[in-house]
Amino acid sequence: VARPLTPSTGVAIAGLGITELGRVYGASAAEFAERAIGLALDDAGLRPHDVDGLLVSSGLKTKVDAGVAARLNMGELSLFAEVNAFGASAGVMVQMAAHALRAGEANVVVCVFADAPLREGTRSADAYRPRAAELGSWSGLSALSGMDSVNRMYALAARRHMGYFGTTAEQLGAIAVAQRTWAQRNPLAQMNAPMTLDDHASSRMIADPLRLLDCCVVSNGAVAVVLTTLDRARDLPRVPVSVLAGAQAHPGRGMRRNDDFGLVTGAATSGPEALRRAGIALEDIDVVELYDCYTFTVLVTLEDYGFCAKGEGGAFVSEPGRLGPGGRLNLNTGGGQLSGYYMWGMTPLSEAVIQLRGDGGARQVADAELALVSGNGGVLDHHSTLVLQGDR
């Protein structure tokens, strides 16, 4: 089984596989993962037996494990891990794959995320509904205190930003509207009906101050990417997307006096560090694909990456001509998770690959060469940043 392993400095994404997404039923997360891997390998012009590294990630209530390698007859692997940095997992997996490829520890690494939280005949909100907690326990205390969902935690983060910086709900709405406009050009997007600021303001409250249209969609499906050395990728059928650099930050907040929860995230560390490692300046970036579980996540990440000063994100995103197709900042060009599809960190990563290959169709950004991709997990607890370059 041993295959020659040769160290390489250049690493690239050579294949991308995206299954049907959204309210698609009849498959487990693992089955979606197998489909996505198959699609990604076909896209790369490779076979399962070429794969010697597999990194898998799945949603909160689903399970994807090494069984997918067996069912796809991958053979012996030199790298395998189940990765869970929540929404940062995709970026973390790509970084792990890049390290292994650069070290010569693997030749072809597949990274996959799959989830199947939606059940036929139920609402999206049911996918992550918390269970009743017990009295007299820490978890029960939390639930009884109103900390009843991730929505609530992000609501508290957003409200704190509003309290300190004057950010408004309407400014968050500008992000939702801009991304919906992009989504209308993306055939994979789950939500593509036109949206206005009034639609955003009148959508039902989910967790004050976050409304329905501040929140991401929920999706069944899977996305996989295939990584190999840049040299090898150049011999494969698709345009290679080079992984120039990546960085992570997991702030480990103490939740003590003057904590910066809701004001600053790990993106403030991982973003500049990834750009430094890549030798790229922020102003050189052509497309920005940010993790957007909520509109607020986009706003605070833009600040942390340095697109605007801290506290000025609201004014930045609501400035006419800034966001949306034809705007000065090509942000979440597939509609993101707010309007596109919710494949955790694979949503921004897949859109970056599409753009850097020039496959964006009606939403293609002209001459897109460099992309910045963020991941965000937990409640602003885990961050990853990737800097990617199309090798066209």
Partner: protein, 135 residues
Amino acid sequence: VTEVTWTPVQALRPGRASPFFDALERGALLLSTNQLGEFFDPRDVVDPQGRGLVPADTTGGGRVESWSLLDEDRHADGPRSYAAIIQLDEGPWWWGRLVVPHGVEVSLHFRVRMAVAHAGASDVPSAPVPYWVPE
């Protein structure tokens, strides 16, 4: 502001949480402290330098760092409940329920104090639950 409704659920009091809930019964919020007098969450085991922590009573007074109106009270005319982040006067944050009279506006750094309610149902033992009210 005492008419708070709590969802009845099964009562349980695991060992490590017992001192905290015992303190609530006597109206104190039990945190933990190191030898320098710095306070930490009661679930913390050591401080960032690895120093051991011992339990210490506090009053639960503090200020609001963030708040989110709970759905159940959105249209109510009575007291309003919020999920809130409280920065306790001793330093640690507490994620707790804030209950204010109708018409009182909550804002950043709004001063609050702790109160204690009992949650439970007729067929399960009750347990003390801290919540916060305007100071």
